[in-house]
Structures are given as C-alpha cells and as structure tokens.
C-alpha cells in the first residue's frame, strides 16, 4: 500500500468521524489544523486506523505523532 493510499484511508476515516466531507488530510497536517479533531476524536481516529490496518500503536507514539505523515510512517512500519 502506498503512502497516498493510506492517506486516502485516513481522510475517509476522519471524514466519517467528524461528519465533515470537506476534510482533506496531507502528510504535514497536524491535529490542530483540523477543526474538531480534539483528543477524544484523536483516540477514535487511532482506534479506527488500528482496526482498518490491523495494527496496534504504542501509547507513547500516539501521544507524540507530530503530523499525519508520522502516523502513516508508523502504520506502514507496523504493517510490514
């Protein structure tokens, strides 16, 4: 799976979570760049990603991801 395909999945997951079809995630998007992407929805997003990709993140990583690109990189690493 390419980074772009993962990014597209992330965008779809977040749109479903936040009921906002206007969301477009980029590799450099940070949580604070997306309206309503608060800590609660961040948890829901991470759990949804884990279910979709069959991975499990470490809590320390979840806390420290700087942007969407970092989450994608870790997802790809766990998938491999």
């Amino acid at each position: 799976m390419t980074d772009q395909e993962v990014l597209d999945s992330f965008t779809r997951i977040l749109r479903d979570l936040l009921l906002d079809d206007s969301i477009v995630l980029l590799m450099e998007t940070r949580r604070q760049d997306v309206p309503n992407w608060d800590s609660f929805n961040y948890i829901n997003f991470m759990v949804a990603v884990e279910i979709e990709f069959g991975v499990k993140f470490k809590v320390a990583d979840i806390e420290s991801f700087e942007n969407v690109g970092a989450i994608i990189a870790e997802t790809q690493a766990l998938v491999r």
Binding site: L18, L19, Q32, D38, S39, F40, N44, V59, I62
Partner: protein
C-alpha cells in the same frame, strides 16, 4: 461545518434532576458542583443522552423525519455545561440519513446520524440469565477498576420509567416507541452509574432500532472490548427494540496529593517555623500540597477556598490531627471581590503568599482566541494576584514574599491554551515590575512543569511530574527568601 439551525435549548439545574430521575443516572458530574469541578469537565454538565433525546424529539416535532428511523449513531465530543445555550443544527438530509450536530456556539458538542429505512429483526446479544439486574434507583454510582470491567454484564429494567419518558419526549416516543426512548435514556445510567460508573465519560453509541419480540422490557449489556491505553470500554447492548454498541471511558478519579504523614517524613519539623503562609486556592491540588508542606515544617497556614469548603475542612482536619491545633485555618476568598474586606482578619501575620487561585484551565474553545476567556484568566491570574499583594503589602507588618505559580505552558504555548498562557505571561511581567519597584512585597515566579492534578488528568496518558518532588524545593526556596532580605 455550517448547518441549518433547527432549535436551541439551555439546560438548567432542574433539568439535570429531572433527567437523573428519568434515566437513573445520578452521576455527580451531572448534579454535584463540588464533585464536578474535580473532573475534566470542571463544572456540572448536561447528560449527553438528555441532549440527544431532546434533539430527536425536536427533529420529529419539526417534521424533519420523513421515514422510519432504523438506527442512531451518536458521538459525544465536548461537554455541555449547564446554563449554556445548545443549538441543534441540520448538516444534511436525504432519504437515507439525517446528519445533525449539537453545538455550543461554534463548538460541536455532539454529532448524531439518524439512518432511515425499514427496520430489521435481530436476536440481540446473549447475556446469562444469572447476570445482575441493575434497578433504576441504584445509587451511588459504582466504581470499578479498569481491569474489573472486562467481563461485566447485566440487565436493566425499562418498564419503570417508560411512562415518564413518554411525557417528556412525546414526539420521539411516537416515532420510535417509548420503550426504545426509555432504552436510550437508560444508556446514560449504564455508563454513568454501572460501567464504567462513577468516573465515566460517555464516548458515544451506535444502535439499530429493531423489531424484536424478546426482551422488550429490559436492556442487556455486556462488555465486548476494553483498551487499557485509553481506559476505553466498549459494550454490546440489546433489548427493548434496539441493539448496538456503546463506547465509554474510565476517567481518572480525583487526584490525591501526598498525605501529611508522607510529607512529614521528608520535611524537617522546624524548617518553616516563624512563618505564616496565606495560600489562596489552598483547598485542593498544588495549593493543598503546599499547605501540607508548610504545616509539616512547623509553619502556620491560612488557606482560602472559593467553592471547596468541604475540601478545605478535610485538609484542616488532616493537618490539625497531626500538628498543633492553631497551625491551620481556612477562610472563604473570592478573587473577584476586593482583598481588603476578605483578608482584614489575617493581614498582619502573613509572611508568605502562595497564589494558587485557578479555574478550569483546559477549556473547550470555538476559535484560536476567545476574548472572554482571556479576560477571565487575566482577572484570575493578574488582577487577583496584584490585588492580594497590594493589600498585604500595604497592611502587613513585615516583608512579604509572594510566590506566583506560572507554567511551562508559557514556553510550549499549546494552541488550545493561548489565553491561559498569555495571562500567565502577563502575571510574570507584573511580578518583574513589582520587584523592580522594591516595595514590601517580593515576588518569586516559578514556571511549574505539568504536574498530575485534577486539571491535568487526560484520556491519553501524558507524562507528568510528581507534585511533591517539584513543589518541595519551590516551597523551600520561597520560605527561605524572606530571611535573606
């Protein structure tokens, strides 16, 4: 996201009591201001399910539901404080679904997706008949440890509250049946009173409305998954014409600071004798910890409280039980009123001031800068501190050392805490200017790291410092500064 405003409502304290009785959810976060201020909400908040049932009722009343409702998907995103206007907004509507938001200004508090179509038949979940029955009047809320929740199951009777539910939500009852409305209402009790119970946060639920001849008069629930990382629990629910899942979190319980006994083991009994510390905001958190440290070192403590009278009384009891009876006293203090009238009785004796007055620092915000929030923080952290210092400086008998607790957040500047950081920075500048004038009051500013208190406990675990390890050297520094001047 913009939407069409359909209705608005402001929930009042009476509504809280009414829905607690209807649903059986008497969790203190909805009813008890003192308990609620020790939670992440910081104040009493509306039952999320109450808001949802109001929205559903309104939706049907306004004729916005053209077909049979087959499912509901709800996410609770932000607390709904009592007394704040909540607006129901329609985001989209077609023949398959209706998407709605409940908003506090520009802030989304709840999202709701109502799916339309034909209902299905389903068997529901299989909860053992021996599982415990949870009656609607169960009180107080249960406190489970996280590890105890993994195998929880049980059932709740829906017959009792159904008539009252129909009266309060007549349109929703006509659309989906009062027993289903009752079942949804009881989800509030399930989360708030049973699982996770006392220290719960309702994350959301997704239920299908089904035609099910079995279990019409009760809801069965069973924990289906837990996630220790987020203290999250998922439950399957079925019965009373619905089946689906519920997501909730186990909040951290109120944070207990180190006991006086523990502190007495590491603080010398005469370290702080001949000093009297006024601790504004001393009934809990870092203020209470500071009070214990000074009392352990033989200093006198006058602590103030704004609303936490019982917390202050407990702390005094703890201190007096292990030290001399005149070591500690408490008085009410409101930073929004003049210091003069409130501190008249204690002004002469105070040698040190610790200013821990605070309100809830982690707020739900609708934009990057909220003027009213900044004003509130400036009153709290700048004006309140200055007023206190001025009065004690003018009317005290000797020099006064005042500790101003700033924060490392001033350096990291988290975007959701801009107003707090700006106010604390203003407080720091004020302290620098006060020291420059060389008056009777000498200030010491400490940028405290993130410490584990009721204010900083979060769903995603964040590394925090040990409050005692951080505050003990701070207090020693502040207490000793007087003797060197």
């Amino acid at each position: 996201m913009p939407g069409v405003a359909l209705a608005s409502r402001t929930f009042a304290s009476d509504d809280q009591v009414t829905f607690a009785r209807l649903s059986g959810d008497f969790n203190p976060i909805h009813l008890d201001p003192i308990a609620a201020r020790k939670t992440q909400a910081g104040a009493v908040v509306v039952h999320g399910i109450h808001a949802i049932l109001w929205a559903l009722d309104k939706l049907v009343e306004l004729g916005t539901v053209p077909e049979e409702i087959v499912s509901l998907k709800v996410q609770f995103r932000n607390f709904i404080p009592v007394g704040k206007q909540l607006e129901l907004k329609l985001l989209s509507c077609d023949d398959k679904s209706i998407r709605l938001e409940l908003c506090l200004g520009k802030l989304t508090a709840v999202t709701l997706v109502v799916a339309l179509g034909m209902r299905k038949r389903t068997a529901g979940i299989d909860v053992p008949d021996t599982a415990p029955r949870m009656s609607v009047t169960d009180q107080p809320a249960i406190f489970f440890r996280f590890e105890e929740m993994a195998r929880l199951s049980g059932w709740m009777d829906t017959l009792g509250p159904a008539n009252d539910i129909q009266r309060h939500f007549p349109y929703a009852s006509s659309a989906i049946g009062s027993y289903r409305v009752t079942a949804i209402a009881l989800l509030s009790k399930l989360v708030g009173m049973i699982c996770p119970g006392l220290h719960s946060l309702f994350g959301g639920f997704a239920v299908q409305l089904v035609d099910n001849s079995r279990n019409e008069d009760c809801i069965r629930f069973q924990v289906s998954a837990t996630d220790e990382r987020f203290r999250m629990v998922r439950m399957s629910v079925s019965g009373a014409g619905m089946c689906g899942s519920v997501q909730a979190f186990l909040r951290w319980p109120p944070i207990a600071q180190a006991s006086l006994s523990e502190i007495m083991n590491i603080v010398g009994p005469t370290e702080f004798t001949a000093s009297t510390a006024l601790i504004v905001g001393g009934s809990r958190g870092l203020g209470a910890l500071t009070a214990k440290i000074i009392a352990a070192g033989g200093g006198k403590v006058i602590l103030t409280y704004a609303t936490g009278r019982s917390d202050a009384a407990e702390l005094i009891e703890e201190i007096r039980s292990q030290t001399a009876s005149d070591v500690c006293q408490a008085l009410p203090y409101n930073i929004h009123e003049e210091a003069a009238s409130q501190l008249m009785t204690v002004r002469a004796s105070v040698t040190h001031l610790y200013y821990f007055a605070t309100s809830n620092i982690s707020r739900q915000k609708e934009s990057i800068f909220v003027m009213s929030l900044f004003d509130e923080f400036v009153k709290m952290y700048v004006k309140g501190f200055y007023d206190c210092c001025c009065y004690l400086g003018k009317h005290g008998l000797g020099p006064l050392t005042a500790f101003y607790p700033s924060s490392v957040f001033v350096e990291s500047n988290p975007p959701d805490m801009a107003e707090y950081c700006m106010a604390k920075m203003a407080g720091e500048m004020l302290c620098a200017n006060m020291n420059r004038t060389g008056g009777r009051v000498h200030t010491i500013v400490g940028r405290l790291p993130r410490l584990l208190t009721d204010q900083t406990a979060t769903l995603i675990p964040v590394e925090t410092g040990d409050p005692l390890k951080v505050m003990l050297p701070v207090v020693r520094n502040v207490q000793s500064s007087r003797s060197t001047r």
